[in-house]
Amino acid sequence: MIDHYAVNKFLYDTDRNEQFVRRYIDDPDGYVDWYFDERMSRLLDNENEQSAVETPDEATRTALKTYDFTTLYRDGAHPFVLWTLMLPVIEEKLASGEFVVTEEPEGARAENRKPMAYYRERILAHGRPDFRY
């Protein structure tokens, strides 16, 4: 089971910072380790101070390093922040050919159609997981 707060903080804090998004796309291993080793326990509104927040286990780090949003989604990561961070990742990986969309869902709306298809195909089996924790 993922550590919900840690995952959601990672997603939220990364998604709102252009440089963090860039690092997460370019170097997921290095960025995820840096995030949890250096930044995770920093207070969001006072980076000089730390909290006793727990850092996540290796399985959670691996899921984030490998963009394994299926596992994160299934285990109750917040679906909104998970999608909003995975969207720029998927867009870039589709453009570079690292990710491939096998089938675009017919009728899916034009905005983000391909990233949406890639994402949807991988979460569909899990319905709407409870994201309370």
Binding site: Y5, N8, K9, Y12, D15, R16, N17, E18, V21, L43, L44, D45, Y73, H78, P79, F80, V81, L82, W83, T84, L87, P88, P105, G107, A108, R109, E111, N112, R113, M116, Y119, R120, I123, L124, G127, R128, D130, F131, R132
Partner: protein, 285 residues
């Protein structure tokens, strides 16, 4: 004493600007419908001439996070800047600037304290698309100052439906008790069934058309028993993982009291329909 002269219930569809700012020949049917809605709202603003706009909108993990989570927050700034990096990236939203009304905001907060509603407040914040898009719809010239009231519709535990009803009553009393301005528009930003980052996201049909239809009836009929009973986490999740923003519409239903219903429509779209409401008061002058 301030008077609520118009109240709008509206979508904050994040692609509103991207869709509607295209050349006329490239506008989709959806864009034309959204522009038609904007024209109606702007006409209501013109005819009721508000001094200030109180915007009730959900935060989308921009102002709030689980490290420090208010449920209902009133902005108290003199000037607001709008939207964030991730929203310009995803939606091509423009960065905007709007005036605020610090006196009305402070009056509302203090009235809340006196009437059992302890608002959080912020003297430094930015506005996300839930405030920016309704502003683009209602006053694209950004001339009228705003007081944002941000709600937690996204980070469980989420307040009860009854609490969002109470918010409507508290806001009405707070606005009407203020001498800071004369004429107030209230813009409530929310949705019916909706999914973001879930299996029914951006599909070309409503997540739950039956709920959409019932919800419109409950809202127009002010059926607070159904509205609150159907607004639990478990019930709203069955209509999509972002249906919690429907809770803001409960605030709208509680707010309007004796105002006249001018327009109520679930605007047909390729996805879930958009709630569109206009209520006005008869005000001399």
């Amino acid at each position: 004493m301030a008077k609520i002269v118009t109240m709008i219930g509206t979508t904050h569809h994040p692609w509103y600007y991207a869709k509607t700012s295209k050349p006329e020949a490239e506008l989709t049917e959806d864009a034309r419908n959204l522009l038609g809605w904007s024209a109606r709202v702007q006409e209501s603003f013109r005819s009721t001439n508000p001094d200030v706009v109180v915007i009730v909108a959900s935060d989308h993990f921009h102002q709030f996070f689980h490290n420090n989570m208010p449920q209902f927050l009133v902005g108290r700034m003199k000037t607001y800047q709008g939207t964030f990096y991730n929203e310009t990236r995803e939606f091509d939203l423009p960065r905007i600037e709007l005036g605020g009304n610090r006196q009305l905001a402070t009056d509302m907060i203090e009235a809340g304290f006196e009437n059992g509603f302890d608002f959080a407040f912020s003297d430094e914040m930015r506005l996300d698309h839930a405030c920016v898009v309704p502003t683009l719809i209602s006053q694209p010239s950004f001339e009228i100052p705003v007081v944002p009231v941000l709600t937690n519709c996204g980070a469980p535990p989420i307040p009860t439906g009854q609490r969002f009803v109470d918010l409507g009553t508290a806001l009405r009393n707070a606005i009407e008790g203020s001498n800071a301005v004369d004429r107030v528009a209230v813009v409530v930003s929310g949705n019916l069934s909706l999914e973001v980052g879930g299996p029914e996201q951006m599909m070309p049909y409503s997540v739950d058309p039956e709920f959409d239809s019932l919800a419109m009836d409950w809202l127009t009929g002010r059926d607070f028993e159904s509205l609150t009973a159907e607004s639990t986490y478990e019930r709203l999740m069955t209509h999509g993982n972002t249906s919690f923003q429907f809770l803001n519409m409960l605030t709208m239903a509680a707010l309007h009291e004796d105002m006249t219903l001018i327009h109520a429509e679930a605007m047909k779209r390729r996805g879930s329909p958009a709630p569109c409401f206009i209520y006005e008061s008869e005000v001399a002058g």
